[in-house]
């Protein structure tokens, strides 16, 4: 009988999508066959998606990795010198020494992929609950000050300082206040919220309770999109577990303060990621955008003062409260007013896709080339969309931009939720511009005219451009329409759809001129 082997394998949805459960079953079978005592724990993902399913086994107190594994690899894994099977073709060495991971600054995602998501003891052993325990003894003003001091800004896309939002809610006198967590992560190219909820859900709950303590709110709601069934299942169990342990309820941690959390599911509407639309949905209505003012911090859910924050914002809060110096340490990271770390997500046509948490200021090139290893197809990078379907398209010549709120604004782009979608040189940017308008037409809530009608007309007009009909005139029309949508829409859906359209026109004009036109234009220039 050999020594027991400690092993970890993700049960994250991305890992499951490439066969993690089949690998787990094969491991259990093979271990039993060989009389090896395998202690297999299912964790979240480390965020190195190209290595999933990534098995980690303990060798001399540290974790060695094997991936991407298929069930067929398992017998040979045991046949080699398992668990220290360095000669196995799937061995990736010590997991924490893989450059993709070693070069990160994991704060918000410190525990993700390491502990079992619903193991409260492991959570505490890895620093969990320190923030909440300290916050429970603090005056609300002091908690708000700590968050303000850290410089933490909303990670959902708008980048509004969290401390200022919380102060506004704290200052309101009301019979009830709410903390609403936006987990309607609909942007293509983003999966950080999902990964965190599946891999370390207690961090989110802890951040929400602290937000409640800081603002005087006693009810929290998490709005999770229906496309995330695994996240929903994990979060539901996490909430039940916290209720059982007295970490949620009438008297949280014996503090005398009440806070409870309800999970609410979305039903397939992208617009519900917009905060006012999400509030409408949480009240049981069509997800139609609200006119502001009033802002939700003053009149939000059920017309009560409401903190609305993204998953990543709230999940970062516990570490900021862990000790008195934590806000200063966090604020020292990053550049200018972009403080702390950002979980960037490398997606699309990328060789090493996944989650990279780094201080603000890293360049887009470092992310795509050093971390991502270029395109999956091996062809040159041509266009990168940063910040989801409402974000700008950047050409390969713009990759040296620093990833901060300010530097991205300087090149007419935005960080959004930190998603980075890479395309190679086979992309047709006129088609992508049309897609941006078509997506807006599909997902518009229909409340305001510039978005509801503008997106439909925009898609039609870009189709004409692609067919080569009056190209110059129609492009002028699209640009004019974009101005109306930007200035006249009620929310970011209509207001930002012009960003991918105009950036595609600006950086890739050659894709909007049909071959004939381009020749005529060139000929005219030559003869004049």
């Amino acid at each position: 009988m050999t020594e027991p082997v400690n092993a970890w394998l993700p049960a994250d949805a991305a890992a499951l999508s490439v066969g993690a459960d089949a690998v787990a079953a094969a491991l259990v079978t093979e271990a039993a066959r060989r009389g090896v005592e395998l202690r297999l724990k299912r964790t979240g993902s480390r965020g190195m998606m190209w290595l999933e399913p990534l098995l980690e086994v303990e060798v001399d107190g540290v974790r060695a990795g094997y991936g991407p594994l298929s069930p067929e690899d398992v017998p040979s894994l045991f046949a080699a010198d398992f668990p220290a099977a360095e000669s196995h073709p799937r061995c990736v060495g010590l997991v924490e020494e893989i450059p993709f991971l070693a070069r990160q600054q994991r704060l918000t995602f410190a525990r993700c992929g390491i502990i079992e998501p619903l193991d409260l003891d492991a959570y505490q052993a890895h620093g969990g609950l320190a923030g909440l325990q300290r916050a429970a003894g603090m005056a609300p003003e002091r908690i708000v000050e700590a968050v303000t001091e850290s410089g933490l800004r909303g990670r959902g896309g708008a980048g509004f300082p969290a401390g200022i939002k919380w102060r506004t809610v704290l200052e309101q006198a009301a019979d009830r206040k709410y903390v609403c967590c936006n987990a309607d992560e609909g942007d293509s190219g983003t999966f950080a919220d999902r990964m965190l909820i599946e891999g370390d859900p207690f961090t989110l709950l802890e951040g929400m309770v602290i937000a409640g303590f800081a603002t005087g709110a006693s009810e929290g709601l998490v709005y999770v999109r229906s496309e995330y069934p695994h996240a929903i299942a994990t979060l539901r169990r996490a909430i039940e577990l916290w209720r059982d342990k007295g970490l949620l309820g009438a008297d949280v941690l014996g503090s005398g303060r009440a806070f409870d959390i309800t999970l609410r599911r979305g039903a397939g509407a992208y617009i519900c990621g917009e905060e006012s639309s999400m509030l409408e949905s949480l009240e049981g209505r069509r997800g139609e955008v609200r006119v502001r003012p009033p802002i939700p911090a003053i009149s939000g859910l059920f017309a009560r003062p409401t903190v609305v924050n993204n998953v990543l914002t709230l999940a970062t809060v516990p570490l900021l409260l862990a000790d008195a110096a934590a806000p200063t340490r966090y604020a020292a990271l990053g550049e200018g007013r972009s403080t702390g770390t950002q979980p960037f997500q490398l997606a699309g046509n990328i060789r090493r896709g996944g989650l990279v948490e780094r201080a603000f200021g890293i360049t887009l090139r470092e992310l795509i080339e050093d971390f991502g290893g270029g395109t999956l197809s091996g062809r040159p990078v041509r266009a990168v969309q940063v910040g989801g379907p409402l974000g700008a398209w950047l050409p390969a010549s713009s990759l040296d931009v620093a990833m901060t709120y300010e530097a991205l604004a300087g090149v007419d782009a935005m960080l959004g939720h930190g998603g980075i979608v890479v395309f190679d040189d086979s992309v047709d940017m006129a088609r992508m511009a049309e897609f941006a308008m078509a997506f807006c037409a599909e997902e518009s809530c229909g409340k305001c005219t510039p978005c509801r009608i503008g997106a439909v007309r925009g898609a039609e007009t870009l189709q004409k451009v692609r067919r080569g009909e009056h190209v110059a005139d129609n492009i002028r029309l699209v640009e004019d329409l974009c101005e109306v949508m930007t200035d006249g829409s009620l929310c970011a859906m209509g207001g930002l759809t012009p960003m991918p359209v105009l950036s595609a026109l600006k950086h890739f004009p050659e894709d909007f001129a049909p071959a004939d036109d381009a020749r005529t234009h060139h000929a005219a220039q030559v003869t004049s």
Binding site: A13, A14, L16, S17, V18, M49, W50, E52, E185, G186, D187, S188, G189, T190, F191, D193, R194, S226, E227, Y228, P229, H230, R264, R265, G266, A267, G268, A269, Y270, L282, E283, G284, R285, R286, G287, E288, F302, Q345, L346, A347, G348, N349, I350, G353, G354, L376, S377, Q385, P389, G419, V421, V422, F423, D424, V427, M432, F435, F439, E442, E443
Partner: protein
């Protein structure tokens, strides 16, 4: 009008929907949760269900109908036994989801948003399944598939068919 073909509506059907409303304390703010549960239990939210829910929640028919028609997850007629969702958003487009979409249409013999005549397959477009580093992403009856291709989707269709 009952939109469920070949199925006689009876008091038990209404009771099931009413029971779901009661489980949610007949709260109007839980309407979306209720609709999700009805869709799950009955395969669709039929017009008759809208009436039952409206009465239980003390809402107008228009309010419940308005919510049902706003959210893409709700359907008025039953979906196929196997619901195949393919992500059509940018990240998946960058790794060939458009070509895969064409293959699926041909393979299943249905357009996006439609159910095959034998009631076996429904094909749906979705915009992001949160698996953007392992695209193209697809989902078959709630089972997520990364690096999806025709063969892997076919295999999953067979697998869920045997469940």
């Amino acid at each position: 009008m009952d939109t469920q073909p070949g199925r006689q509506r009876c008091a038990a059907d209404a009771d099931e929907v009413r029971g779901i409303c009661v489980r949610h304390d007949r709260r109007a703010d839980a309407l979306i949760e209720i609709l999700i549960d009805v869709q799950h239990a009955r395969g669709c939210v039929a017009d008759a269900d809208v009436g039952v829910i409206a009465e239980a929640l003390n809402l107008s028919l228009a309010e419940v109908h308005g919510v049902r028609s706003f959210y893409a997850d709700f359907s008025t007629t039953p979906k196929g036994r196997c619901v195949v969702k393919l992500c059509r958003a940018e990240a998946c487009q960058s790794v060939g989801s458009d070509a895969l979409a064409e293959q699926l249409r041909a393979r299943l013999g249905v357009e996006f948003g439609q159910t095959s005549r034998d009631g076996m397959h429904t094909l749906e477009a979705v915009y992001c399944l949160g698996n953007c580093a392992l695209g193209p992403a697809a989902m078959v009856n709630g089972r997520l598939i990364g690096r999806a291709d025709s063969e892997r989707i076919d295999a999953m269709i067979t697998e869920v068919g045997n469940d």
